[in-house]
């Protein structure tokens, strides 16, 4: 079974990635990087990462989220996060990355905040 499963869907101008599994060094981080790179190549620059199914993330995975954020921003796009688990929210809090990422509890709220 893949370490990280990613399902893509479209909500208006926003591409939603429903993710399940783990974002850790190796396969999980590479899967996220590949997905973001492909979306940017397709011109999809408004991306919402639904992390409800992500039970674990390590420093490599956190780094990959930052890398995704920067890559998307550099192409004048937006990355937002949806449905952080308690543990992931704690991790982003202690690393002070919640000051960088826009994170939302509901998809409707997240989608309405894309410009």
């Amino acid at each position: 079974m893949a370490e990280l499963n990613i399902r893509e869907r479209q909500a208006g101008d926003v591409t939603v990635l429903d993710m399940g599994g783990r974002i850790t060094i190796g396969e999980g981080s590479v899967a996220l990087r590949s997905a973001i790179r492909r979306l940017l190549e397709e011109g999809k620059k408004n991306i919402l990462l639904n992390l409800a199914g992500v039970g674990y993330i390590d420093s490599s995975g956190i780094g990959e989220l930052v890398s995704s954020y920067t890559a998307i921003k550099n192409q004048d796009g937006q990355l937002k996060l949806l449905s952080l688990t308690e543990k992931l929210r704690d991790l982003l809090t202690i690393t002070k990355l919640l000051t960088v990422f826009d994170a939302y509890d509901t998809e409707a709220d997240a989608l309405s905040n894309f410009k």
Partner: protein, 137 residues
């Protein structure tokens, strides 16, 4: 409680991080560590072993990473030893500093310190680095 010790030796490739995590999961269960502390210990071990493999041993298959778990009453001690060149922890920048916040790496040591009660990096006279981490539970 009877003192327990487990020692594992891992090859220097990234897949071994999962092996270390599996070993620590079983060990902390046997020690009676609660779920919240177990999550942090798992995270710290993954980060320490990742650093040992990637930065310490430079993924050199000729070098090994040794992990030792020791559990006494309400204290868990973990050592991760690599065969690398060593480094000065004081020179690793703070990843929460605004100047570093968008860096894509450099958070592993910070997370280890966040989740464990004490973390020390020791350069061994015979070469290599030992990370010693303590968690009280």
């Amino acid at each position: 409680m009877t003192e327990q010790t487990t020692r594992i030796v891992l090859p220097s490739h990234i897949e071994a991080v999962a092996d270390a995590a599996a070993a620590v999961t079983g060990f902390v269960e046997n020690c009676g560590v609660g779920e919240a502390a177990a999550f942090g210990i798992d995270m710290a071990v993954r980060e320490a072993v990742t650093n040992a493999i990637v930065h310490g041993n430079q993924e050199d298959e000729a070098k090994a990473v040794e992990v030792t778990f020791n559990c006494q009453e309400h204290v868990l001690e973990i050592e991760v030893r690599d065969q690398g060149e060593g480094f000065d922890p004081a020179e690793v920048p703070d990843p929460t500093d605004p100047a570093n916040i968008l860096k894509t790496s450099g958070r592993g040591m910070f997370l280890m310190r966040s989740f464990m009660d004490d973390v020390r990096w020791l350069t061994r006279p015979d070469g290599g680095t030992t990370v010693r981490m303590v968690k009280k539970f």
